[in-house]
């Protein structure tokens, strides 16, 4: 035993005497993780979160979350002598007086944007591969929760400097709170400590942004990761991979090196963006005052779809018995997003109700093999894209020589017409791909080489695909549709008949598939040649 091994052994023994750690460390250091690039998307979120914690802590050492009025005496000439809040002035100081301050501000903000992008692409991967199915439904709900909280945290974060752009955003948020029926004005006055803008809002959202929400994030992310750890990660179908195993590499050393390395990559890319690309140049926006606004005022991208919804809303407001309800604010600002996020969170349960599949799944679906799910996802993405584009309609209009009026009408109509169109096109695309897979298995790969038969006929040579590929293309399950009968054995009508009818319809639609190729068919074909 070398000296180093002896020392390591002593340390390990010391810890193990007190915690019994050796047993579970041994088990977990050899834990197997499947390897696919799309499994790293969630890690982008995790590492961005760490970067946010680190860079954010740095910023808190200089930021003053107070709205008391100060006169700016710093080094940025175009603002010298102006009245502004201490929050804004301290952000200017971080940008111009603290070495590395502007860099850290930019890293923090870019990390926040990357965090949200990571969540969305990770969500897309999980959704389109069906990784949310049993036993991972709770993890899905936690994920949707992280998405929602991330949007809020980001909004509060960029509102802290109290600049003209984010202040405009807070004004709009206050209008949404104020619009709530019955309690709106009270809640708004409670949140702001009085009339808008008041002096209480920035200090309060500071507490939420640096203490409450990060704590909740930490807890949710921990549970999220523990579930992945305990339930083991899903894997793509393929040769040697079954529902009962995990094929991949052990945590130590491969996964530790690769995942650890990826943390540095994410941090490095974020630092790169912070170095070369300007973000949130608050000194150009100016301090917030309700009498000013800039053309082209938008929230950060993850709220752009909300802005787009509000912009395209029809101007509907009702006054009944003297009481006002602003449907033009409540529907796009609260009701529609509420419905969407609830549907998103409940999706695993909706899908398993619709197709009756209550089993565990650890093998992922190739998106083409779940055409209905994929098509619904395409629908949701189309909706989000149209609303997101409308959020930037004035900038798009001036860049591409369009009018904001055209953009508005395109969005109002498009948001209703385009998603169903996307559904139909995507579903057909999936079925076409299934057909192509089937052809590949049965007839092999087209090589492009033509041979002339003695009879004069031209044929293209097809190369049979490998056994591994054939397995990959046919290992998926094709569920039969539910056929819950309307009447039970005795001829009595079942309760919930309408619900069952709907369920049958949906499950029949979900079961639409091109039958996968079988060995029997292959042999039959071979017999013909």
């Amino acid at each position: 035993m070398t000296a180093r091994e002896r020392i390591a052994g002593n340390v390990a023994g010391y810890v193990d005497d007190r915690t019994g750690a050796a047993k579970w460390m041994k088990k977990n250091l050899t834990k197997v993780f499947p390897d696919h690039w799309s499994f790293l998307l969630g890690e982008i979120c995790l590492y961005s979160f760490v970067i946010l914690l680190l860079s954010g802590t740095f910023l808190t050492f200089w930021f003053d979350p107070s709205m008391r009025e100060v006169i700016y005496e710093g080094s940025y000439e175009p603002l010298k002598g102006l009245e502004m809040s201490a929050a804004y002035a301290s952000t200017l100081d971080i940008s111009f007086e603290v070495r590395g301050g502007l860099l850290m501000r930019q890293i923090h903000h870019w990390a926040a944007l990357i965090f949200m992008v990571g969540i969305v692409v990770h969500l897309m991967r999980v959704y389109f591969t069906g990784a949310f199915r049993k036993p991972r439904e709770f993890n899905w709900i936690i994920g949707v929760g992280l998405l929602t909280l991330g949007i809020v945290e980001g909004f509060l974060g960029y509102s802290l400097p109290d600049d003209l752009l984010s202040g405009t955003g807070i004004r709009i948020a206050e209008a949404i709170i104020q619009a709530l029926p019955v309690v709106g004005s009270y809640l708004a006055f409670f949140a702001f400590g009085g009339a808008f803008p008041g002096v209480a809002f920035i200090p309060r959202i500071y507490t939420v942004h640096v203490l409450l929400l990060p704590a909740i994030f930490l807890a949710l992310i921990t549970v999220h990761l523990m579930l992945v750890w305990y339930q083991k990660h899903t894997q793509f179908p393929g040769p040697g991979r079954t529902e009962k195993n995990v094929v991949g590499y052990p945590l130590m050393p491969v996964y530790m090196a690769k995942a650890g390395g990826f943390f540095f990559i994410v941090f490095g890319v974020t630092a790169f963006l912070g170095a070369v690309a300007s973000i949130n140049p608050i000194w150009l926006y100016g301090p917030y005052t309700p009498g000013q606004v800039s053309a082209g005022s938008q929230p950060d991208w993850y709220m752009g779809w909300l802005d787009g919804l509000v912009r395209m809303a029809p101007p509907i407001e009702t006054v009944t018995f003297g009481y006002t309800i602003s449907w033009n604010i409540l529907i796009p600002g609260l009701i529609l997003p509420g419905i969407m996020f609830t549907a998103l969170a409940l999706y695993p349960f909706i899908e398993s109700w619709a197709n009756g599949d209550k089993r565990e799944h650890h093998l992922l679906d190739r998106p083409r093999n779940a055409p209905t799910r994929t098509a619904i996802g395409a629908m949701a993405l189309t909706f989000t894209l149209v609303t997101l584009l409308n959020g930037g309609n004035d900038i798009i209009a001036t860049t591409f020589d369009l009018t904001i009026n055209q953009m508005m009408w395109f969005s109002r109509i498009g948001v209703i017409v385009l998603p169903p169109l996307a559904y139909v096109i995507t579903k057909r695309l999936c079925l076409s791909l299934q057909r192509a897979d089937r052809d590949l298995v049965l007839h092999g790969r087209e090589t492009g080489r033509l041979v002339r038969m003695p009879s004069g006929e031209f044929v293209e040579i097809h190369e049979p695909i490998s056994a591994e590929k054939a397995w990959l293309l046919t290992s998926h399950e094709q569920l039969a549709p539910l056929e819950l009968p309307e009447h039970d054995g005795g001829g009595v009508r079942r309760p919930g008949a309408i619900k069952n009818k709907i369920r049958n319809r949906i499950s029949r639609s979900m079961a639409t598939a091109v039958p996968k190729a079988t060995q029997t068919e292959r042999q039959e074909l071979e017999g013909h040649h």
């Binding site: 010298k80 930019q106 992008v117 990826f262 973000i279 150009l284 926006y285 900038i395």
Partner: protein, 249 residues
């Protein structure tokens, strides 16, 4: 001795006075020539839309009373003559050289009193303006159309407030006092000449400001920032992820 002194004094004074008179006569003559030249250019290049006497031919508005400043702005920035009948005249390379622009301005000014071209003395923004005050004035009066950094913005029906970057101070001043196309007029009592100079000083400072944090991404805010993360940001990260999971040779 006294006599010689008196003669010299009277003689010099007379000399100077007649020289000034001569100067004034030259200036008046020059102006008159400019007005004539302006009328020629106007008839050739402008009357088809603005009418033979600038009273409007039904297509374009009357120019009577718009003043030399309007002409110097519109023709000096190339907006006029309008190239195509789109919803708004665009800034482009001026068709006429500075002498011709001046001539046109003098001609239109001669039709009726209107805002005059600001002199160089009136445009000394470095001396008479305050950058910080100009910024506040800009954000209150201009940012809602031209964006916080003067990059321009959308108006209704395809009209737009253009970028103010790279615009001559004289043209900025003239735009403020004449209110071209969709832009309102900013009278000297609502925004004083000193305040206008402060605004110009701030605009020029913003124009000259180097990239303090990196590539400015157009200075239009979160839209281009979001575009960058969704292209370069996630592109780089997914690229590395694909490399990470690929089997080494």
């Amino acid at each position: 001795m006294l006599l010689i002194f008196a003669l010299l004094t009277i003689g010099t004074t007379f000399q100077v006075a007649s020289a000034v008179d001569a100067e004034q006569t030259t200036t008046i003559a020059a102006r008159s020539a400019a007005i004539d030249e302006g009328r020629e250019i106007f008839l050739k290049g402008c009357s088809s839309c603005h009418g033979l006497n600038a009273e409007s031919g039904g297509i374009a508005p009357s120019l009577i009373g718009v003043g030399a400043a309007s002409v110097d702005f519109q023709v000096g920035t190339g907006r006029m003559p309008m190239g195509d009948m789109s919803v708004q005249a665009m800034r482009k390379t001026p068709l006429y050289n500075p002498e011709e622009v001046y001539a046109l301005a003098m001609y239109v000014a001669s039709l009726a009193p209107g805002p005059e071209i600001p002199t160089e003395e009136m445009l000394n923004y470095e001396r008479d303006g305050s950058t910080a005050e100009g910024g506040e004035l800009f954000r209150t009066n201009c940012a809602m159309c031209h964006n916080f950094a003067g990059q321009g913005g959308a108006l209704t029906q395809g009209k737009y407030a253009p970028t103010i970057m790279g615009v001559e101070p004289v043209h900025i001043y003239e735009a403020l006092i004449t209110g071209p196309q969709s832009m309102p007029v900013f009278s000297d009592k609502t925004i004083t000449p000193e305040e206008k100079l402060s605004m110009i000083k701030w605009i020029k400072a913003a124009e000259a400001e180097p990239q303090l944090g990196g590539a400015a991404l157009g200075r239009v805010g979160p839209v281009t920032e979001g575009l960058l993360v969704w292209t370069l940001g996630i592109g780089l990260l997914i690229g590395v992820a694909v490399w990470l999971a690929a089997k080494a040779r």
